[in-house]
């Protein structure tokens, strides 16, 4: 004879037994998922923190590195104001002003080819990364040749104020680099300070008797400088 109550009780027990592994498995899986998610989250936070702190320090470092340079620029500007070209070093080796050289003799880097917009922007990005490294290195080493390179780079890329700054810095490290003075003067012209460029060139020519500087001065004075 069937004992329905007993059967129902046994059935309930059986169902609990039957589903218990699945429920336990599900709980274990959920726990695992939560643990994984939590660990990932904490990893991400740590990564973010680690990313954030070096960037901060880099920023700080870069600002620290920049500061002296800016101070230097300022100090340079105070000692050598834009309207007055440096006299002391130039007066020492002052020479009579020579005839300006023909414009054709001016050494100028050809402008980058803008026909391929994509490749240009790509190169620019890569160069930007490189130039940042170089600027950092320049701040660390104060190498005049490196400063010249950076000034030239900025001038070629149309960053005339940057070109002006780096040329100025380079000149302060070594005042014997002709090209640096040329870039300095050309940047001034590009920044709309043609008069200051002329005065600078005149002083430099007096001091160094540079043919290139004379040619440039001539070009500026004739208004053919581009």
């Amino acid at each position: 004879m069937l004992n329905i109550q007993n059967l129902e009780r046994r059935w309930l027990k059986y169902k609990i037994k039957f589903y218990a592994p699945y429920i336990l498995g599900l709980i274990a899986l959920l726990t695992l998922l939560i643990a994984v998610t939590y660990s990932k989250k904490s990893d991400t936070d740590e990564a973010k923190e680690s990313i954030a702190s070096p960037s901060k320090s880099t920023h700080e470092a870069s600002s620290t590195v920049l500061e002296p340079s800016m101070d230097f620029v300022r100090s340079f500007q105070t000692t050598l104001p834009m309207n007055e070209t440096p006299k002391a070093p130039l007066q020492k080796n002052a020479q009579p002003v020579r005839e300006p050289l023909p414009v054709a003799k001016l050494v100028s880097t050809p402008p980058p080819d803008l026909s391929d917009e994509k490749s240009f922007s790509l190169n620019r990005t890569e160069s930007k990364l490189d130039i940042e490294t170089l600027e950092r290195r320049f701040k660390e080493t104060s190498n005049a040749n490196l400063g010249l390179f950076i000034a030239r780079y900025h001038y070629d890329h149309g960053n005339y104020s940057e070109a002006y700054n780096f040329a100025l810095k380079t000149n302060s490290i070594s005042n014997k680099i002709e090209e640096s003075w040329i870039i300095f003067a050309k940047s001034l012209v590009k920044l709309g300070r043609a008069e200051q460029a002329k005065k600078t060139l005149q002083f430099y020519i007096t001091d160094s008797n540079s043919e290139a500087a004379r040619s440039l001065l001539d070009t500026i004075e004739r208004g053919t400088f581009k």
Binding site: L2, I4, L7, E8, R10, W11, K13, Y14, K15, K17
Partner: protein
């Protein structure tokens, strides 16, 4: 209870071997036809083997039922394990000879030769795994003498397969293997059985989900299916009498199938 919708289906699934309850399923029908044709061949022995509950006994009874109308067929559904008794009963039933002396194999063969039927009588032995090895050897010798054709059923287990190999493999015989029913076959079996008894309402209550559950619980074993369904319809009878509101007439309750399985021991809870 007598007028219960479920009492008739319940009684249908009482686990008794009755050839009249034989349900034609494609795979079994095919096996049955092959068995019938094998019996007509000049074979000494036919072996019918398979796992318990695959329908061997039912097939043997069906064969007995069908062949007995035309020829001498003797059914031994309860094994006679004593060798002397076995030969004595065999001689008595087949040759209508009741020996007073001890029946030896030689004596039995002498009697068989003396009687000499035109059609070789067929002896159907169910549960042959219960016979001793020496008796099986005697059965083999009798069949070798072509005085009796034996159709025997064996449970397919490792041990029994060894018996089959040792005694029969080198003989001229045919072996037919029966397999457990698939869910689809089980569905046909259940529904045919119910429809044969005009239990249409109950037959319609079996959906595919119910059949799958029954098949998974019984593993396609016909005997277990019969037991399970007997218990299930007993449960339905109880609920019909005590709590009819719980019965859904569009499908069988999985819970009650499982309860029936617990009752029959298919589920250990």
């Amino acid at each position: 209870m007598e007028h219960s919708l479920f009492s008739k289906p319940r009684d249908l699934f009482l686990d008794v071997v009755n050839p009249k309850d034989y349900v034609q399923i494609d795979s079994i029908a095919h096996i049955y036809q092959s068995l019938k044709s094998s019996v007509q061949k000049p074979l000494k022995m036919i072996l019918l083997f398979g796992r318990p509950g695959t329908g061997k006994s039912m097939l043997l009874h069906k064969l007995h039922h069908d062949l007995s109308k035309h020829q001498k067929v003797f059914m031994f559904d309860i094994p006679i394990v004593d060798e002397d008794d076995f030969l004595r009963v065999l001689a008595e039933r087949i040759f209508a000879y009741s020996p007073r002396e001890t029946m030896t194999l030689t004596r039995f063969l002498e009697i068989a030769e003396a009687v000499s039927y035109t059609d070789v009588p067929i002896v159907l032995l169910d549960e042959a795994q219960l016979y001793s090895s020496s008796l099986m050897e005697k059965i083999r010798l009798i069949s070798d003498a072509r005085v009796i054709k034996f159709v025997i059923t064996l449970h397919k287990t490792d041990k029994e397969e060894i018996i089959a190999k040792e005694h029969f493999q080198t003989r001229i015989w045919e072996s037919i293997e029966l397999h457990n029913a698939t869910a689809e076959e089980l569905k046909i079996y259940i529904q045919k059985k119910l429809l044969k008894a005009n239990c249409f309402d109950v037959a319609n209550m079996f959906n595919d989900k119910n059949i799958k559950l029954v098949a998974s619980l019984t593993k396609g074993n016909f005997r277990e299916t019969n037991k399970l369904l007997f218990s299930l319809f007993s449960l339905y009878c109880w609920y019909e009498e005590n709590n009819p509101a719980l019965i859904q007439y569009n499908a069988l309750k999985s819970k009650w199938i499982e309860m029936a399985a617990i009752h029959t021991g298919l589920i250990h809870a």
